[in-house]
């Protein structure tokens, strides 16, 4: 038993922390978020150069083979820097779907490009009526000749605007809400019949509504086994949920640290407000939530890597539930303890608070995961 990071993980962590420090100060981050595509293409190339884009992938495709542990190191840094690059969409979701479900040909074709930074992916799985139910899919792909024709809509697809390929979950058989009958397709966003509406999210990330109107797909657009995509989707979403829990740890640790610093320096009634016991205990609650959150984030990473699906689901949902608690204990309290300044656009605190809010919702909120945990 050993819960320390390996030396190579610590190195990865160090270089990421340096990157955040040098390239991702808050001013720069705000500037990036207001620009056209909402992130900096040069940063993406730096990611590729640092090998970040290959962190979870097998070495045979040019990856580092660091698996989920590597992902949590990257994602914690993403959280600390409130970074905007499409790592979650392209690497964690897109890339891992290819790695898990793809044919050898698809993997050889896509992963090296992705790792090199030349190819970006996005994953379209949310639908208007579905809320957090991954199998509530109305978007349909029907056989047509050797290929398929795709009809329907997808919502809140992160970074679809800049993706070269979009992986779409569609129903190929079965009733709505049935886990049976789902399939994955690799769709070219420039194909005829694909229309998109791009927008900014409240924490500065980018997403899109997509519509597919009689979109023709070749036979090799199918990713994985026809009708059998559900376990793959669930597994990759769990990996991504564990990854954003690590991102949450990064956010939470920043909020805790910034709040403690504020308590130490802000003076009212002729003393640092950190002298007030109520605020001290509030800060301790934040610290404890951070530590517990970190623990569950590690546990989820371990179980995503090696656990059976039952254990994976329990630990991922546990971490997600705690992330929901952290939204209140750390996020809301960070704003409260900063007073007025904590709810202004100019201070980074507000933006960490918003990111934490988004992470709570993403891949299912606290309630959803508490119920999912209960049902195991």
């Amino acid at each position: 038993m050993n819960l320390e990071f390996t030396e190579e993980m610590v190195m990865l962590q160090d270089s990421l922390n340096k990157f955040v420090q040098n390239e991702y100060d808050f001013e720069t981050r705000q500037k990036i978020s207001r620009e056209g595509i909402g992130y900096k293409e040069a940063n993406w190339q730096s990611f590729a150069d640092m090998g970040l884009l290959g962190v979870p992938f097998d070495e045979q495709y040019g990856g580092f083979g660091f698996g989920q542990t590597g992902l949590i190191v990257v994602m914690e840094a993403m959280g600390k820097g409130l970074m905007l690059e499409p790592y979650l969409a392209s690497v964690v979701l897109g890339g891992q779907l290819v790695q898990l479900a793809g044919s050898e040909t698809q993997k050889e074709q896509l992963l090296p490009q992705l790792i090199g930074g030349e190819l970006k992916l996005a994953f379209a799985y949310v639908e208007r009526q579905a809320r957090y139910n991954l199998s509530d899919v109305e978007c349909r792909a029907e056989s047509k000749g050797e290929g398929f024709v795709l009809n329907g809509s997808k919502s809140v697809v992160f970074n679809a605007e800049t993706a070269d390929k979009i992986i779409v979950a569609a129903r190929t058989s079965g009733d709505t809400i049935s886990q049976q009958g789902l399939s994955l397709f690799i769709v070219d966003p420039t194909a005829e019949g694909v229309t998109a509406r791009h927008y900014e999210t409240y924490d500065g990330l980018r997403a899109s509504e997509l519509n597919f109107d009689q979109v023709n797909l070749d036979a090799d657009a199918l990713l994985g086994t026809l009708d059998q995509a559900y376990p793959v989707i669930e597994s990759v979403i769990d990996s991504a949920a564990a990854a954003i829990c690590a991102e949450g740890v990064g956010v939470v640790s920043q909020l805790r640290q910034k709040t403690v610093e504020y308590l130490q320096t802000r003076k009212q009634f002729n003393q640092p407000i950190g002298n007030f016991q109520v605020l001290q205990h509030r800060a301790v609650d934040m610290f404890m939530a951070e530590e517990q959150m970190r623990s569950l984030s590690y546990l989820a990473a371990i179980k995503v890597t090696e656990g059976e699906s039952h254990e994976r689901i329990k630990s991922v949902s546990a971490a997600k539930v705690y992330l929901g608690d952290a939204r209140a204990i750390v996020g809301e309290q960070a704003a409260q303890l900063h007073g007025g300044i904590g709810v202004t656009d100019e201070l980074d605190v507000a933006h960490y608070v918003k990111r934490l809010g988004l992470l709570n919702t993403l891949f299912g909120d606290r309630d959803y995961h508490l119920q999912r945990f209960s049902q195991q």
Binding site: T201, Y202, V278, G339, K354
Partner: protein, 398 residues
């Protein structure tokens, strides 16, 4: 114990309801119902309608144009306004400054300011907080130095709501450096267009501009703009906090928001059924409803005491804390109700005239900004921590 209104009160309720139906502008009602940002003109328009009816200042004594309502009538008016999604009148002139002038002002000041406040012809803002004086308001540093028949004011005020709309500002300024910091504070009225006054917008977490920083640089203020005597500012400001305590809980507004939440939750779907049929989501709504029921009843108990002639105590702190807790909890559930569709952010969705198709539920676009923005409610007006300090001392003797 009786919760029913008397026949006279029922008649009054009906009168208010009918008046609102006939005279409250539909376009403003739609804005409030949909969380669209309000403009100065919306307030002025509605306040002028109320002024014409004689209802714009329920808290004023009749001699100054108040309607002479009982506490219960005021409550009914407030409730009906909430139910009709009315714009709340802006408090700075009508609710905050006017009573101060009535109590501490000179006849000349009353003469000069009161009618314009009543008719919303002059717009006021409040200059209390400073960058280094938030919870500890008494440590404020903006200086007013007497030079002949003027004060020369230097300093800066912050969190000034509607500062960019305002014609005038009532402020607390330091007129002397005595040992007890409360002592050297005075209450001064400043023209926003006086030379040396400038404002700078503060954009809040929701991306909107409502509050401002106000800079005061060698601003010349005539001594007749002093309210009360020099050094009495702290006493005056404190007396102001005693006003309108039963409306602080904002129960009618929260009831309306719960209605809205239930409507959205019945329109959103989850596992093929309306979200509101999800037992866990329902239970969360219920928990808030129960807290609100308790709050409403506590509010009524205070009202009942006031009606019976008792002076209200420190209940306003309780009403403020519970009121804001309920409000914040509702905004959180509202955001939660639309799930992923709280994500899209577009500032223009919150402003008048936005015509695009909504993404997800038609009301979704404002829910996240409102949730984040509403964090302020437990901070402003004396943070909830300060309110608990007050109660510990005043109510519990700790």
């Amino acid at each position: 114990m009786d919760l029913n209104y008397s026949p006279e009160e029922q008649a009054f309720q009906l009168e208010v309801r009918e008046f609102l139906q006939q005279h409250y502008p539909k376009d403003i009602q739609d804005k409030v119902a949909n969380g669209i940002a309000l403009k100065k003109d919306d307030y002025v328009r509605w306040q002028k309608i109320l002024a014409k009816q004689g209802w714009v200042a329920p808290g004023w004594p009749e001699q100054y144009g108040g309607p002479g309502w009982t506490p219960v009538q005021k409550y009914i008016f407030d409730e009906e306004c909430g139910a009709a999604n009315c714009l709340r009148t802006v408090a700075f002139g009508l609710v905050m400054l006017a009573p101060v002038l009535m109590k501490f002002g000179t006849d000349e000041q009353l003469e000069k300011y009161l009618a314009d406040i009543y008719n919303s012809d002059v717009w006021w803002c409040q200059g209390y907080s400073e960058p280094n004086a938030g919870s500890d308001l008494a440590s404020l540093q903006t200086k007013a130095e007497r030079q002949g028949d003027h004060y020369i004011v230097n300093g800066s005020k912050t969190w000034t709501t509607h500062g960019h709309y305002a014609d005038k500002m009532f402020t607390l300024v330091r007129t002397s450096q005595e040992d007890r910091k409360q002592k050297g504070i005075s209450f001064l009225l400043i023209d926003m267009d006086a030379p040396g006054v400038s404002t700078s917008p503060i954009v809040t977490i929701d991306g909107m501009h409502v509050v401002n920083q106000v800079f005061l640089e060698d601003v010349k203020v005539p001594v007749e703009n002093l309210v009360g005597v020099e050094g009495d500012g702290w006493t005056i400001a404190k007396s102001l906090l005693m006003h309108e305590r039963t409306y602080i809980a904002q129960v009618p507004r929260s009831k309306k928001q719960i209605e809205r939440l239930k409507k959205i939750a019945s329109e959103e779907r989850y596992n093929g059924k309306p979200l509101i049929e999800d037992a866990s989501f329902k239970a969360k709504i219920s928990a808030i409803e129960i807290e609100l029921m308790a709050l409403e009843m506590t509010n009524l108990r205070v009202l009942s005491k006031i009606s019976a002639g008792e002076a209200p105590g420190a209940e306003s702190s309780l009403l403020k804390i519970k009121g804001t807790e309920v409000q914040q909890a509702i905004t959180a559930l509202l955001m939660e109700s639309v799930g992923y569709f709280a994500f899209p952010y577009n500032k223009t969705t919150m402003t008048e005239g936005w015509q695009e198709d909504p993404i997800g539920h038609p009301q979704a676009a404002m829910l996240a900004p409102h949730y984040f923005d509403w964090r302020k409610s437990s901070i402003y007006g004396g943070s909830n921590e300060i309110q608990k300090n007050i109660m510990a001392k005043a109510v519990l003797g700790l």
